[in-house]
Subunit: 254 residues, 2 copies
């Protein structure tokens, strides 16, 4: 909602595509969504959508093509290892209609870890990129990710995905950072909901979120999160929410 007062360049958007049967079967708990989400927020990129799809070429192609047309950046995690079920590079090349080949720069990078006697066909799968891609290095495994167009292909192993995001971030187009404030309401959501909607109506350019947490000991509690790219508007909205909370608390005490 903060976009209303922001110029077009202020807002840079992204989607994350998590690729892997193991996430969908529940065998592996995803750890990339939370990290990428927080990281992008921190550098001024708005994560607008996440999808998780299986290791199936056509599913990946469809998702990549849908997402890359709608967002400034698309990040993918998973499916770039050396085994037959690693089909992300192939799918991304297909999505762009580009040939996929063994990239000598990627082989050179891989060779920093893999001795010549161990460089086999499986490991060379990790060096395949679509024509025209730039590499995303990582000093953990030395098997690179790559960027092609606005799609950034990263590993699934969280520590490697994080290293790749660190390597990639300085090259990314970013926007004006979303600022946020968190307030502990000290009230139940049902008591704060009506007055909060009125504050939101007065600040249509500021996003106000309300988040319940349930605790076996204390029952329901509420955290309010106020977000805007404009520091002055953020201050005004925070003051309005704070005043409203004081009023509701006083009313409930009566």
């Amino acid at each position: 909602m903060a976009e209303a007062s922001a110029s077009k360049n202020d807002v840079v958007t992204a989607a994350l595509l998590v690729i892997g049967d193991e996430i969908l079967s529940g065998r592996t708990q995803d750890k990339n969504i939370g990290h990428v989400a927080g990281y992008l927020t921190g550098i001024g990129v708005d994560l607008r959508e996440v999808r998780v799809v299986p290791d199936v070429v056509d599913e990946i192609v469809a998702a990549v093509n849908d997402l890359r047309r709608r967002y400034t950046h698309v990040f993918t995690t998973g499916g770039i290892g050396p085994t037959h079920d690693d089909v992300t590079a192939e799918a991304v090349a297909k999505a762009f209609g580009l040939p996929l080949g063994v990239d000598e720069r990627a082989v050179a990078m891989l060779s920093r870890r893999v001795p010549p006697a161990e460089m086999n066909e499986a490991r060379l799968r990790m060096a395949r990129t679509p024509a025209g891609a730039s590499l995303i290095e990582n000093a953990v495994s030395w098997a690179p990710g790559f960027s092609i167009g606005n799609v950034h292909v990263m590993a699934g192993v969280p520590v490697i995905a994080q290293a790749m995001l660190d390597a990639l971030a300085p090259r990314l187009k970013t926007g004006r950072k979303m600022l946020s404030r968190s307030l502990a309401a000290g009230l139940k959501e049902g008591d704060v909901g009506g007055p909060l909607a009125q504050v939101q109506a007065r600040f249509p350019d500021v996003a106000i979120g309300s988040y319940p947490t349930f605790d076996d000991e204390v029952g329901f509690t509420t955290t309010l999160v106020i977000r805007s790219r404009d520091a002055a508007r953020l201050d005004q909205a925070e003051a309005a929410v704070t005043a409203m909370l004081a009023e509701v608390r006083a009313r409930l005490r009566r």
Copy 2:
């Protein structure tokens, strides 16, 4: 891939739609994807896709309509609380072209927790359902979710989402369970990749996945996961993978 030998009724599919700005901003770490994924696998429903979208009606409508046409079930989490940013019920009603109204059965349920003096407009938002919906109860907060068509709308708070899934599960159409075996390869993925692809080619009806994990102490290790709905084929594929692993290990020792 196991579908090849399974009759149509054996395979029941699902998508999960996670709704909430707080997941996309990284403020809240999602805990529902992993739980729902493992739960559905356990009852014979294949989770095929997950999406995370913001608290924006049109985004939710588009995702619900896309997913409900492609999968047997669609589960949603988030956005059914009492505040202005809880727009899931409205969006799901809009996706189906149905009117949204306060549901007296839901009010009765809510009243088990909320005393009459506290039943305000905000709390009544939690009792809104699309016409024709059935309720999904939960004994944690007594604010119900609902099912309409093949879409099952659940809370975002994990403990409540889990209670709702428990309540809902006995009513769900389920399929033949996917069976799986996990094998610790004791080898690097790059060494097992080639021979593993050959085993996979011999068992096109069995899904074989290879998962690297990186550990600061031991470096890269590999877990192989073999999945099929057919117990006999699973046994055969497991035996083939086990034999292949023994062969690769012997070769590397030479």
